[in-house]
């Protein structure tokens, strides 16, 4: 029984991990299109944050081991979010730093904070205001993947841009 429960939890976790990117791809449901003409059309059509084809659909930056600097390949993503935030003063984003398990929990809390702060700084430089940004760290406490290998670790070394609803 116990094993069964654990398995179910695991399956759910895996499903949550696996389905995340898919959700973003599958986001354009047909329903909004049909309703679009009735509801304020301008606003709904304009918010690029909800456009799965936009670079803004990317909400994570990734890092090498024990590194907190935003990598070149992620810079366009962060810069696009900076531009978006500067143009949408009412939007707020939480930057959540995460780490792989190769460090103590406390050290990783510091490293995750440094990752989040790095993205925070780049967003601010790109025009976002301080009151739109909050950086926190989860260290290694919220891994996306829990195996002891690099395939897993590289998914866990990241900063998530989590927009307030």
């Amino acid at each position: 029984m116990k094993k069964l429960i654990i398995s179910i939890v695991l399956v759910n976790l895996l499903a949550a991990c696996a389905s995340e990117p898919k959700k973003e791809e599958a986001a354009p449901a047909p329903a909004p299109k049909a309703e679009a003409p009735k509801v304020a059309p301008a606003q709904a059509a304009v918010d690029p944050l909800n456009d799965p084809a936009s670079i803004l659909a990317k909400r994570s930056t990734y890092y090498p081991f024990d590194v907190a600097v935003v990598q070149d390949e992620d810079k366009p993503v962060v810069q696009a979010h900076a531009k978006y935030l500067s143009e949408h003063a009412n939007r707020k984003v939480r930057l959540e730093g995460n780490c792989d398990e190769r460090g103590s929990n406390e050290y990783n809390l510091g490293l995750g904070q440094r990752r989040a702060d790095g993205v925070n700084k780049m967003l601010a430089l790109g025009g976002a205001r301080a009151d739109q940004l909050e950086s926190v760290s989860y260290g290694e406490e919220k891994p996306r993947c829990t195996d002891h290998n690099e395939a897993c670790w590289k998914q866990n070394r990241r900063t998530d841009l989590n927009y307030a609803k």
Partner: protein
């Protein structure tokens, strides 16, 4: 039985099943001390169920330490010194003999009258009456095991102490306080957000810890008696790594409110906050020396995470660990002569100790996912987080590396363990 640590200790594998309802399913002991003391534990006379329960705790405790060889008492059951025939026990190879009686007192408390006899010299080593309420029978057993341990090894026993750790099961986190053998669980805090870094106040009355329940890392101090708690540090960013000074009058904490993780001192009520590191690096996991004068901590100021030491009143920090790999989570030994820490290299995490005087580092474990080591208050055992059969478990290793034990809790992952002070 002598097992060399370097050859890999696999010799003796005992499975001690915990028979009472409790959190720990099983404890596996690996290895044995260099000189095991042969001791016979005769079940006490009196209420058989209670006597049996006490006997089990005493024998489990002594066996777990790896320092004793239990001599089978079958066929002989003396309960008073006058009933002891010493030659019987000499023949069986016992050097010491534990006997006694147990009875319910008029006030409902259970009292065990216990004696430890020297079989060779035919004298009494210690005699004591130990009592507790009916639901604390295990405490009687731990106390007796402590007395036996103390008399026969010369070191103070730690069987009556407690430990704290975090149990993670999916998205459920529980901060738990338990007896040193994992029994007698008490949930201090349960939440769907992570909990980490429990730290005992020196008198064992409070736990400081980090909880993410408000969405980011905040340090709380909670009374274990009233469960009331105060917010110790809740600034922007992360607040973490609480460590008590030996006099309990202040804590070191790590805050990112001024940039990267830096160490601050604060009083237990949250007042008097003062920054003491100014590195711009990650400075974390402070741990006070026994005299309260120095802090060990982890820092990446030299490029990789290493252990440093600095005076508490703030001065230049001295790097303590060198060589390949990185090092984390330092803690002073109770005698102040060494420190234990987690060593990471390509083989994974190891529990390591380093002597202050010689600077010599030695690995106590074979490596894997062994994190967050902390000394028992007698300095003879080290508790750490490990992994076995795909689960996070609690583990201990003797300070000489010879005896290890794995403690399997019922479910979930055990993380972030820390050994509490003497009661």
């Amino acid at each position: 039985m002598v097992l060399r640590v370097l050859q890999g200790v696999v010799g003796l594998l005992l499975l001690v099943q915990a028979s009472m309802a409790g959190a720990v399913l099983s404890i596996e002991i690996i290895g044995a001390g260099e000189h095991q003391i042969p001791v016979a534990i005769v079940p006490f006379s009196g209420d058989e169920k209670i006597a049996q329960a006490i006997n089990e705790v005493v024998t489990d405790d002594l066996q777990r330490s790896g320092l004793f060889r239990l001599v089978d008492p079958t066929g002989k059951s003396p309960h008073e010194p006058a009933e002891v025939s010493y030659p019987d026990w000499q023949v069986r190879g016992a050097e010491a003999l534990s006997i006694g009686t147990v009875a319910a007192q008029p006030n409902g408390r259970i009292e065990a009258r216990f004696r430890l006899l020297d079989v060779v010299k035919q004298t009494e080593l210690v005699g004591q009456a130990v009592s507790a309420s009916e639901d604390q029978i295990r405490a009687i057993g731990h106390r007796i095991a402590d007395l036996i341990y103390e008399k026969l090894t010369g070191d103070r026993g730690v069987f009556s102490t407690r430990i704290a750790y975090v149990n993670r099961q999916g998205k459920s986190f529980r901060l738990i306080v338990a007896d040193s053998d994992g029994h007698n669980e008490q949930v201090v805090l349960a939440h769907s957000e992570p909990i980490m870094s429990p730290a005992w106040s020196p008198d064992g009355s409070h736990l400081a810890y980090v909880s993410f329940e408000t969405g980011h890392a905040v340090v709380y101090v909670q009374s274990l008696y009233t469960n009331q708690r105060v917010v110790l540090a809740d600034f922007r960013g992360s607040n973490s790594a609480p460590a008590w000074s030996p006099d309990g009058k202040q804590l070191a904490v790590v805050l990112t409110r001024d940039g990267s993780s830096q160490i601050y001192l604060v009083r237990p009520d949250g007042s008097g906050l003062r920054r003491i590191t100014f590195s711009g690096a990650i400075d974390t996991e402070p741990n006070f020396s026994m005299d309260g004068q120095h802090l060990l901590f982890t820092s990446d100021r030299g490029g990789s995470a290493q252990i440093y030491r600095m005076p508490v009143d703030g001065d230049l920090a001295e790097r303590m660990t060198f060589g390949e790999g990185s090092n984390f989570s330092p803690r002073h030994s109770p005698d102040g002569k060494s420190f234990v820490f987690a060593h990471l290299n390509s083989g994974g995490f190891y529990v390591a100790v380093q002597d202050f005087q010689t600077g010599q580092m030695s690995l106590l474990t074979e490596g894997g996912w062994e994190k967050k080591p902390s000394f028992a208050p007698n300095g003879k055992l080290i508790l750490f987080a490990s992994e076995a059969r795909g689960r996070g478990i609690l583990a201990t290793v003797s300070s000489d590396g010879r005896v290890k034990q794995h403690m399997f809790t019922q479910s979930g992952d055990a993380r972030e363990p820390v050994w509490g002070p003497y009661p």
